[in-house]
Structures are given as structure tokens and as C-alpha cells.
Amino acid sequence: MKKILVILLTSTLVIFGVNLGNFELLKFDFAETQSNIIFENFDKKLTIETSADQIVNTINATDGIYVVLKLSIDGYEAQRPTSDDLSMEEVKTFLRDHRKKVREYHSQINQEVMKELGLLSIDADAYYSSYAPYLFLTFEEDLTVENYDYIINTLETPYVETIYFKKAKVESALFEFESAIAGVNGTEIIGSPLYTGLDVVIGILDEGIVDSSHDNFEGINLSVRNEWWYSETVSEHATQVASIAGGINGIARESSILSVEVSGEPSGEIEWMLNRHVNVINMSFGYLSSSSLGDYTSEAAYIDYIVRNSFVTFVGSAGNRGDSDKYVTSPKTGYNVITVGATNDSGNLAYFSSYEEKFAISKPTLVAPGSYISIPGFSGIHSGTSFSAPIVTGTVALIMQHRSLLLLYPEAIKALLTANIQPLDGYTAFDSSGLEDKVGSGMLDISSTLEASSIIGNFYNDENVPGQDVYTKLVYLNAGQRIRIAAIWLVNSDKSASTNKVTDYDLFLYDGAVMKKSARSGYNNVEFVDYTANSSGQYTIKVTLAASRKTSTADVGGVSYRIIG
């Protein structure tokens, strides 16, 4: 219903002559054709070879479905300001203007494509993303074979790249915090008047909305989405998560908070927050159907696009399946999402923390306390990666306040958090990206991350020369010093094309002409090097394009390093 209102509102703007920009639909370069049909979370396995009758019968056995159409339209080419010397207000003004352009770009294109495809004539709620090349159809009634065929045939047009079918029904059942903060080197920072998250907007996307009357939000600028057409549920979990990230006794104590309840696919909720200038979004929830577990779903793909093009950082909990199938829950499987596992009060990985994926990406990104912790303003002890994620989300708000330009560089935020960690030396199952299988790069270190935020490097690559260095940095290391380097670049992908839409960059550390260590994973958007120097001297950090660039728009990346000892 709310989506229909959005459509009506946007249509009204067009009718009344509000200028939505000067776009021409057929001007866009269409991405390489990768037509696909994906059935994401049905109990029975469906493929494109299955007959339409069988597919429709299986789909209709569930209570409602939704269809996601990923369009073959190149994304809005996000431009950052040419100057790095901007105040928080200037950065925020830039971000507001940028998001307005993204919104105008995608709203108009998506609206026109929706009309062109005739989706409004289908007996379904049809709506579009204002920030990404996605159209959505929600079927309250059964999907007919005719409608199914109609949707599938949109793949024959130049506009549609991938179609996802999903079950819409969502049922929901519904160490002392100070010690946990000390464990991530945050004691000196948290509570300091210099680091409060002031002017940064944190979004809490959760199973319910935050209890705005809770004492933890006294004096906090908290906006809760509570619409007259939808009955939101006040959630203790959302309130706890928000309390950790931005409550008066949490991490970023003067940040503003937006709270939205997610009920199905999350685009409407995320875009509500984008319209309210959100900077970092916490997701301590997951989609739990067996086919979503550990996989790259439409939600993950949508979020990856939003991170890259609307400059917002997403932080999510890895999930608590470490004791069963170990899978990270979607949409925290997104390439551009900072995925957080949990540690216990001994600083080891909590037994429940998830770490497996079904495709070539390294998760979690890092870990933070989340086992048997207390939460200020709540009784009892609490466990789950749900509570690790907001510790990192609050830290992101502190970084953004400390260096406001990073509001526009989610890849730099992720690189900072990945490089500036406390090592967990007992974990040694490293993958080809250099991250450890269960704990990622290691334990969050708030103090070091903030300290390093002023020397973050970045690269911009709009060329396509495999073997070319896109980033080079000289560093001096004394013998015995340890260096940790993280290179992260933002990607757009989709499930079937995850192997050919992620540009491959490699990370190297050289001593003169001698390569000392490298991280050379493929189909991933992170490389991490951990090296202890055996002789003093100049070393060179290099990020190199390993193979042909896979995106039509330029790649952007962040590089951060930390020297220890």
C-alpha cells in the first residue's frame, strides 16, 4: 500500500510539472546480457526448465509472493567532490544533493521502464526503487500462468537482466557492557565529548521499531517510522540494538537515530531512511529460508548497489548459526556490507557466530563482543551477533563524525575497520583474500580505527589495463614491526553473475623489487595482508588490477593499514 502511495505521489509530481531531470530512456548502455530467473526461497527446487504450471503451483502454495526485476541499466555514476577539505555541513550538503540526483535518475528511469514493460496492468502491487535499478511486484492473490509468462517475457526486452521470485510471507515470533567496550579499546573514546557521533544519522533496520520512550534515548534525536497504514511493532530487540549503537549510554551518544521495521523485502524501509539522510544502517536481522542462508540474494544485491551509489554504510550481524550449518544470513552476505561476528568474554569466537558462505566472498569482515553481554538500561545478559553489529555501527558513526568526508566513502570505512583490528592469533584458517575463515581480519579496535581515519587511502580506476597499479604507497617498517593492510572496493553484482561482475584487484607488499606478501583472491572485493618485517626499510603497498574491469563505471576502493610494534 505504501508503495502505491509513493507511485501516486511521484506521478502527481510529474503531472504537476515538477522537473525530474532530463533523461532519455534509450540513451543508456545496457550491461552485458545475463538473463536469469532465480527462485530464491521456495521449499521445492525450481529451475527455468520446470514447467510454468509446476512453477506457478509451487509458488501459489505459499501465502503471497513478490517478484524483483533487476534492470539491465548501468548505475548512476556516483561522483565524489574534488576537494577533500570539506566541513561536515559541506559534506552533508553534497550528500543531500547527490542523493537527490540519484533519486531523480532512478525514479524517472524505473518509472518509464515500468510503464514500458506494462507492469502496471498486472494484477499486483507494482513499485520501483528510487535509488537502484530494481522494480518490484507483490502478489496478494495467486500468480496466474499468464502473469508468470508475462513477467518471464520481460527478459526478452533490453531492460530486464534478472528476475527473482520470492515467498513474501514473513512470520516473526517474536560481560558487562563496559568490559565489552574495554575489550575493543573503546573506554577512552566512548564518553569523551570529542567522540559522540554528533551530526551522524544511524539507521536501525530491525524486526520492529525502537521504543522511543525508553530512557536510553532521552534527548536523542530519534525518528521512528510509524505509518497510519501499517501496524508497526515496538521491539525490545530494536531498542537494545539502537541503545548500543546510539543510546545515551551506548557508543555514539549524540548521533541521530532513524528506526524502521522491516517486514518483507527491505527497499521501501531503506529508501525511507535514505530520504532522511541516513549515513550508516545497522541490520541485526536475517532472512532464514534454507535457500537464502549463506547465499547472495536479491536483498544483498540491492544493498550492494545502494552502498556504491548512494554512499551509505551498511553494518550487519553475521548470524548465529555457528553451531549448526554455520551460514551467514542474508542480506549480510552482500559484498559491500560490513559483516560482524561475535566474540565471548574471553576474546574468542562465540560458538554461535556464523562464518560460512555459498559463494566466493570472505565473511565475516571482523568480530566484536556479542556473547553474554549486558546492555545499558536492560536487565539480564544477552547473546547474539545482533549485539556485535551495533558496536561496530556506533564506531562507524564516531569515524564519520571524526572525519566527515568519510560519509561519502563507505569503502574507506570498511577498509579502516578491516585493517585496524586487534589480531586474534589463535585463528589461522586464512583464505586467499588473507582474511581468516571464522573471525575475518580480527577483533574491532575503536581507538586504532579512529586514529587511522586521517590517513586512509583511496583509489579510482576508470581504466582497463590488467596488471596496472591503481594504488601505491610507501611505508617504513622497522625489523619486527607487523603491518596489516586492507584494500576494499565497492561492487555491484547479482546472484548468477557474481563470478563475472566483480572486478579482481590484488594487494601486494614489496620490499624494493621483492614481493614479500600478497592477497590475490578472485571474485571477492577485499584483500588483506598481515606481514611482519624481517628487515628495516621502505616497503611499498600496491593494489593492482588483476584482470579486466567488470563494471562499466569506474571502480572505487579504499586502502588502510596499521603498523604494530
Binding site: G286, L288, R321, G380, G384
Partner: protein, 148 residues
């Protein structure tokens, strides 16, 4: 024909005799008990044992609701025993319910049904089942099985 019907009726009666019996029970979540083990099941056959358990360190963080519901009096144990089962769910979308309780070959078998939602928060949720059984129910060991 009458004989066939008689035999079928007897079969139904026999099946009925060996099926599980309904016992009083309560299922609670967020009980505030951590470090839940596999097969976390305890038989309590007297009031002193219950008191000892409720006062133990493991239950120091337990919710008042759980403590109240598990706090049976001395008289209760004259004719009944109590079984406490603890389960851990890895997200908020899991709910547990008691499916059946029956003695098979001297083993008390408890079946627990799981229901999973499509969406849930990444919080660990501890669940407790408080099962009341008569002292006359005889068995030498007990086991529970969680079915999805």
C-alpha cells in the same frame, strides 16, 4: 464383515494404548539462562532438589517469570515429578512446542516441534519447557528430540 470391523476396532484401541499421554507443560522463551547444553534435560523428583536448582548460580540470571512458573511447592512432589528442558534458538524466528511424551522401552521420549519464520533477528534466544509428569510414570532414562 463384522469380524473385520471388530479387528480394526481392536487395532485402533491397541494403537491408542501405546500413543503418548497428555501432560501439563509450559513453554517459555527469554528465560535468561545461558550456556545451554545438548540434551539439557533434568528430572526433579523432590522439593529440596528444585530449591537447590533454583538457588544455583546457573539460574541467578533467570527471569522472574520462569522462576515463578517453575516454583512448585512441597505438596506437588508428593504425586508428581518435574522435567526441565532448556533449548537454544539461533534467531528470534524459531518457536518450540511440545509434540509428544511417551515411554518406549523404558526410555522417556520427548518430541519437540520447531517452527521457523522467514525472517528473524540475530539474537540467541533461550527456551525452557517445564513438563509435569506423575510419579507413577516409570522410566530409567530420558531423551528429547527436536524436530524441524
Amino acid at each position: 464383515m463384522k469380524k473385520i470391523l471388530f479387528i480394526i476396532s481392536c487395532l485402533f484401541l491397541l494403537i491408542g494404548c501405546s500413543s503418548s499421554v497428555k501432560y501439563d507443560y509450559q513453554v517459555l522463551n527469554n528465560v535468561g539462562i545461558e550456556k545451554i547444553n545438548k540434551q539439557d534435560i533434568t528430572l526433579i523428583d523432590n522439593y529440596d532438589k528444585l530449591t537447590e536448582i533454583l538457588d544455583s548460580e546457573r539460574f541467578s540470571t533467570a527471569s522472574n517469570e520462569w522462576k515463578e512458573k517453575a516454583n512448585f511447592d512441597f505438596a506437588y512432589f508428593e504425586d508428581n515429578n518435574l522435567i526441565l528442558i532448556f533449548l537454544s534458538a539461533d534467531h528470534s524466528g524459531t518457536t518450540y512446542s511440545l509434540k509428544s511424551v511417551e515411554v518406549i522401552s523404558d526410555v522417556l521420549n520427548i518430541e519437540i516441534k520447531t517452527k521457523n519464520a522467514n525472517l528473524g533477528t540475530d539474537v540467541m534466544v533461550d527456551w525452557a519447557i517445564i513438563l509435569q509428569i506423575p510419579k507413577t510414570l516409570e522410566f530409567s532414562s530420558m531423551i528429547y528430540k527436536v524436530e524441524s
